[in-house]
């Protein structure tokens, strides 16, 4: 009998039927606890940032413990923990090589968590995990080829082809935040000019509003103590001219990126989410207006960008934490002997 089987049987005997998904963000940690039927048993959102890499694993382990309390369960009932991290992750060795917004570099998070929790852990980039989770939960029905475009502090895409998460040679497929959309645009932190992130991310939208107001443009946003991308979308929806201009420009940049994604991957659907997408319909409308202009000028573009190809991630769908659950499910041999978790992530 192999070690894995022994451990499977032990897990079964102990009733290790729970899975924990942890979505680590720049300003909060969201935890979901589900059972073998994917019923939610507990959830927790802690709005504290974890910056310090030396205490990150302690922080996450403590949050998992508190989340389990909401599920009235202990760690001995947990089969696996999946973690989504906003940054560059190597799922094979469990190391976060770089998470700029968290200030982490070469952090062996998986091993650190396994030592603290005593259960198998797996980590993945948050957007890729979310894309895999969207597929696993059939949020788009039976669509097998799609891109999940996350627009927030950064912009990147998780790509699902033929129903499977596609990672690419270096695990960086979908790094569209640093595709050049406007070669004459502002210089990005990556060093190139006019990257998509410089034109349409949350910080970019806020910066554009700030700069314009500072240079004397009139706007209702001038009264905001700190302008966010959500504020700009809200102001645009109420007719603020400056805000409307900024939102339209960002929508055009995103539409160009979406057009490029559809022309290269020929996917059936592009689902948009992330912090900026939290602005809701005005956000989607800014993209659709720009796509309509593209459709109107080109028959080929109209065919590729069929109506409804871009979809807004439904509100309250907890994409990040569900994606982390999918990551937990991907751990081979960590679940019960019947391998009930058949939709293993590639």
């Amino acid at each position: 009998m192999t070690d894995a089987l022994v451990s499977d049987q032990r897990a079964q005997a102990l009733g290790r039927e729970l899975l924990v998904g942890v979505d680590v963000g720049g300003s909060k940690i969201a935890v979901l606890v589900v059972d073998g039927d994917l019923e939610i048993r507990g959830r927790l959102v802690v709005p504290t940032p974890i910056g310090n890499p030396d205490t990150a694993a302690d922080h996450i382990a403590a949050t998992v413990a508190t989340a389990l309390e909401t599920a009235r369960a202990g760690i001995e009932r947990v089969a696996a923990v999946g973690v989504g991290v906003p940054g560059r992750v190597d799922p094979d060795n469990g190391v976060v090589s770089l998470a700029v917004n968290l200030g982490w570099q070469r952090l062996p998070l998986r091993d650190q968590l396994e030592r603290r929790l005593g259960v198998p852990c797996a980590i993945e980039n948050d957007v890729r995990a979310a894309a895999a989770g969207i597929r696993e939960r059939r949020l788009l029905g039976e669509v097998e080829d799609f891109v999940y475009l996350s627009v927030g502090t950064g912009i990147s895409a998780g790509v699902v082809l033929g129903g499977q998460l596609y990672r690419g040679t270096r695990g960086l497929a979908g790094e569209v935040g640093h595709i050049v959309v406007d070669a004459d645009g502002p210089v990005c932190s990556c060093g190139l000019r006019g990257c998509l992130e410089m034109l349409a991310s949350g910080p970019a939208i806020a910066r554009l509003a700030d700069d314009a107001i500072r240079s004397g443009r009139q706007s209702t946003l001038a009264t905001c103590p700190t302008i966010t991308a959500i504020d700009v979308h809200a102001a645009a929806a109420t007719g603020d001219a400056l805000a409307a201009e900024i939102v339209a420009d960002a929508g055009r940049a995103l539409a160009r990126a979406i057009h490029g994604l559809v022309m290269t991957y020929d996917v059936e659907r592009v689902i948009v989410g992330g912090g900026v997408a939290g602005a809701g319909r005005p956000f989607l409308a800014s993209i659709e207006t720009a796509l309509d202009a593209t459709r109107a000028s080109s028959e080929l573009a109209a065919e590729m960008l069929e109506p409804g190809i871009v979809e807004l991630l439904p509100d309250g769908s907890d994409t990040g934490a569900w994606g982390a659950i999918t990551v937990a499910r991907s751990i081979d041999g960590s679940v019960d002997g019947q391998r009930r978790w058949s939709h293993a992530m590639p």
Copy 2:
């Protein structure tokens, strides 16, 4: 016994061990005849264009017959015929829906050819077929994720992911010729502005030279009766300032597209070919110069665009006809009972 098996056994009994690959181009038809060990038994290049859709199948069938003469074989020795067509092709129903440069529309080429030749035929887009052929012949060694970027009359890409041809939802993955590279660029025939094809295809390069000379720019190209993209690259290599400028601009546009392809697909290699790539080293150098500038300004871009990521298709590799051979091999049940052709195209 199934019909397919009966037909397999007949094929074996009759010695149907040859495969024919036909590459249909705007100005020539190239045919390759190979045996079961992929040894070349015959080849033929006919430099006549086939425009008329009503006589296209007759023309191709006659060319196949002549090519078989060079192999000293008759059609009764042929197991399958594969055809690559520069245009939009549905491999499932064998119809060329649109081949702009040939003037074809909704042409049921596969059935027409099967009626004339009496052997199973299959058709595919020429660039996708070429990409599958590059993989099957291991032209890049064991590289499993790559893009074949064809730069000629049009620009498009064949995408191989995980060792398999990736076609996308509508069979249009890799249609990068109509990705917008310069939003302020000239209007493309597709209706959009600044598509890659308007900046770097063969006709675009020739047009830019023509226009400049007509508007009074000095150039050694002024003496050419008809300027081609190859002429422009040759003039650039000998120090002609106008030609060098045009070649550098086209190289920049191609480098931006390659950067975008690598950021989205995260492929290990981009192999460039097609008519314009026939200019050889000066063509590759124009791309590399632009990539070097991108690498110099961005660490991320330098990591993704590692040295040697872009490769020029080796001269005389008959990519189109070999791609068509791969298409022929993809026909199920068309080959001998031992199914020697194991690398079926997906």
